[in-house]
Symmetry: C2
Subunit: 155 residues, 2 copies
Amino acid sequence: MLDLFNYNWQVRNDWFAWCDQLSIEDLLQKRAGGLGSILHTLFHVIDGEQIWLYQLMKNPVIEKDKESIKSLEEVIAFSEMTRNTIQPFLADWSDEMNEQVLVKKKRSGDIVYFPYKKVLQHVISHEIHHIGQLSIWSREMGLAPVNSDLIIRTF
Amino acid sequence: MLDLFNYNWQVRNDWFAWCDQLSIEDLLQKRAGGLGSILHTLFHVIDGEQIWLYQLMKNPVIEKDKESIKSLEEVIAFSEMTRNTIQPFLADWSDEMNEQVLVKKKRSGDIVYFPYKKVLQHVISHEIHHIGQLSIWSREMGLAPVNSDLIIRTF
């Protein structure tokens, strides 16, 4: 499933480049839905990927509050840092790993089980979903969004 | 990859149920981005799946103009009809089919090649992207969107 991560990372980079035309006020402007702003939605996508993948990798999860995020550069740096950690792990993925299970204890004390394959599917679909949200905000601002059509991309 | 189609179909059905609370005027209300309205965006997702999958299945593609779509019931019926055709084809999918290639001639005369696996990835990501768009419109209307988080679903 690494190819779909590569697809998402390519689209994400295109959105970073797209963001360059906006001021920090536009990027943090409060909007309905998603994580409430363009910048926080992008951060949330990267953070979600980090939280899930770092657990599979048995890396300590980085705790970062989205309200502390105030610049596009920070978000890009966070994306590059986490991707550089995650990419080699995914590159070494084997079919047997699909069947492994992440075990978590909820606050209620209940135990929940997440098959690794499902975690990857979740992270991939989570980013695509939020990127769709950015495309609406883009049109509402009168701007053409990034074309994220997978079929026209080489990744 | 059938599981991700099952995921999309489940989320799609939840959106159909969500749409029940809206009038046809709300469903056809002009909005920025996507296919310009909730109903036409849902139709577009189903139609895109049909167009790509019917080609892989070597079925004649159904030509349907989105402007002719005037009711939720029509869209649901189109979804059920095409899904019933596509589902058995995907259920019989074998790894060798990933490597098969759909060959198409563009209007310019150029030949383009689409590996079957990439077509499936495109159709899956296309629906997730547009569903993300619906979630923004939903929040803008003051309504809670369908929760499409893959990790919490059984499909």
